[in-house]
Symmetry: C2
Subunit: 128 residues, 2 copies
DNA sequence: AACGAATATGCTGTAAATCGAATATTCGGA
DNA sequence: TCCGAATATTCGATTTACAGCATATTCGTT
């Protein structure tokens, strides 16, 4: 059932945190891992869950995997992403994650020494 | 987390079927059981799940328990009930349940011999 | 008080989801 | 071709969700 497929995606805290972050723009797996402060295999597994549920698109760029929300989410997912956008200020964890995201992006931009491809480096700035 | 509480409610087919039916108006447990064609304990347990998740209100009337959607659902639930309302035509099970609901209500109305309090009998007609 | 209808709960087994830890894979650079 | 970084997958253990079945509870009636 189409409904269940979406809701099963949405009923895990880690997956919701990921969607919350991606509402701001794409991120690669390593930055997601850093922001969420959870083990990388766990992030990877939940990303797979989101992808299988149609709630995530990924694109391989060299060694990095760029994660973004689907360009054309189905109606149910789209409505819930809007809800997440509207209601996330009520959830401390979501707000904290967004702060951490800012910090991480700042660090990336201000430390050009880190060995990141320009495409990855600019993720935080480019929401396309 | 408030989000999880709602989504955990929504990620079970039986619970979605119940919500779908209640969008048309209140029903008591025995009629829900008849319409869904599943064992009564199963219905009861899922109703409890919905109630715990804030997606259902029940009212005792004699021996009957009247189930209805909450008068003031939280924003996330409300949005998803709207989605259910809008998208249910795509889901055969939801449509079949609505047909069965009509049949059941007709049967109740046309067989006054059945021993039902007027309050229960009129549930299908009164959506308040 | 005894009974029956409507509903709820307890119990047990099973399937599914999640996790941590270890390992495999992929890819660019030395 | 070997190495390291980024990512994915496998494995075993644990938890959680759901099921069916039996039984308890509640309430009106006799």
């Amino acid at each position: 059932m189409q409904f269940l497929r979406v809701y099963q995606c949405l009923c895990d805290e880690t997956r919701l945190r990921i969607l919350n972050l991606l509402l701001e723009g794409p991120l690669c797996v390593c930055h997601l891992t850093e922001i969420l402060e959870i083990p990388q295999p766990k992030v990877s597994r939940h990303l797979k869950g989101l992808r299988d549920g149609g709630a995530l698109e990924t694109e391989r760029c060299c060694n990095w995997t760029i994660c973004r929300l689907p360009k054309t989410p189905n109606a149910l997912l789209e409505a819930n992403l809007r809800c997440l956008q509207d209601l996330r200020t009520e959830e401390p964890q979501f707000k904290a994650d967004l702060v951490k995201r800012e910090q991480t992006i700042d660090r990336i931009l201000n430390h050009p020494g880190e060995d990141l491809p320009a495409q990855i480096r600019s993720l935080g700035l480019c929401c396309s």
